[in-house]
Amino acid sequence: MNFSNVSTICPYCGCGCGMILQTIDQEIINTLPSKSNPINEGKLCIKGWNVHDFVVSSQRATQPLIRKDGDLKEVSWNEVLEYVAKELMRIKDQYGPDSIAFMSSAKCTNEENFLFQKLARAVVGTNNVDHCARL
């Protein structure tokens, strides 16, 4: 029997609720809110309560995908990054920097979001930066 309780932070938004993931034999079976975490004091929202479910979801993307000839194909990180960089440069050259928008995420850290807007402003040259919480 291998049962454990792993203390962690909810991955869904920037609130940072404390949660405990319960695992049996390496499988995550349940989520509990942390009672002693000062952020959420033993409470969670519906997304937090269901964190254990999406980890093993069959609908989850586990590899980069590119649509080729109408179908999504699994490709390597190298290929996808090269493709994205090339396309962004092409669009920027053809239509100007403001033809590109950067959509950031509440699930990222402050530091990641900082770097992301820096890339948008300093490298691409646009102020079109927004994030998922506004949707």
């Binding site: 029997m1 049962f3 404390g18 049996i24 509990l32 002693s36 969670l44």
Partner: protein, 271 residues
């Protein structure tokens, strides 16, 4: 932390009377209290019980945790830290054929007077306990106060409270008595999925009806509610109705709920 309980648990593990003990642990560094499963009698690092603590004692659904482990390992003999409410939860699960008494060893902890009063708990101690003192049960003033309201006021009170619901399902998720594989609260015919707020008062009334004669009054639901709906008043009230009409209180004695209509097979009869 209670030395008495730690010693008792250590002995149970060393003597092989239990395979594992489901309790609580204070994490090193962060000091967070989390559920923990102890398997080595010589290693009880961070052992925590919440003994002598008041209203802010960190209580987790340990019975539900035991239930999950027991489903996967039905033969495992498990120890569990049990306050009065945890013991009532176990007893009810035995009666509903969800757990086998043979597989569970309780290590009892009686609650402090302060916690008993905060919970308005009618039996703040398990039948047998290793630590703590028996303090008298407390009648619920909150239930009396709400019940005494004139009907229109009472309706306003409940509709106001329910209207705050963000439908997180936390009350159901944390409940040690919610063991159904399919839940009415997820049935499209009763509750429209993906709609917030939930229909008022259907969502909460549905759950309240299901708690009648089943709620063991641990209060974890109310503690988990992000919008402070006084769920405990609601479920204490439905339990009082069952008590008044059928003289039945969940978690006491071996008698089954009067709402156990179908009965069970002899091999299912654990209580």
């Amino acid at each position: 932390m209670s030395e008495k309980i730690a010693k008792h648990v250590s002995e149970l593990l060393k003597q092989g009377k239990i395979e594992a003990f489901i309790g609580l642990k204070e994490q090193q560094g962060s000091k967070h209290i989390i559920p923990h499963i102890y398997t080595d009698g010589d290693n009880l690092d961070g052992f925590y019980t919440g003994f002598n603590e008041g209203a802010d004692a960190k209580r987790y659904p340990l019975v539900k945790t035991l239930f999950h482990i027991s489903k996967r390992y039905p033969e495992a003999r498990l120890g569990i830290l049990a306050r009065g409410c945890d013991e009532r939860g176990l007893k009810e699960l035995y009666k509903w054929n969800q757990l086998n008494t043979e597989q569970v060893v309780t290590v009892g902890l009686a609650c402090s007077k302060e916690l008993a009063e905060f919970c308005e708990c009618y039996k703040p101690y398990p039948d047998e306990f290793v630590e703590g003192e028996k303090v008298p049960g407390v009648d619920s003033e909150r239930v009396k106060k709400v019940s005494a309201l004139e009907e229109p006021e009472r309706l306003k009170f409940w509709l106001d409270k329910f209207s705050r619901c963000i439908k997180c399902y936390g009350c159901r998720n944390i409940c040690p008595m919610c063991f159904c594989k399919e839940c009415s609260l997820e049935e499209m015919e009763f509750i429209e999925t993906g709609k917030i707020p939930p229909e008022n008062p259907i969502f909460h009334l549905t759950r309240a009806v299901h708690m009648a004669g089943r709620c063991i009054d641990c209060g974890l639901c109310e503690e988990a509610c992000p919008v402070d709906i006084p769920l405990r008043i609601l479920y204490k009230k439905v339990n009082n109705i069952i008590m008044d009409h059928y003289s039945y209180r969940p978690g006491f004695g071996e008698e089954k709920s009067p709402l156990n209509i179908l009965g069970s097979r002899p091999d299912e009869n654990n209580s």
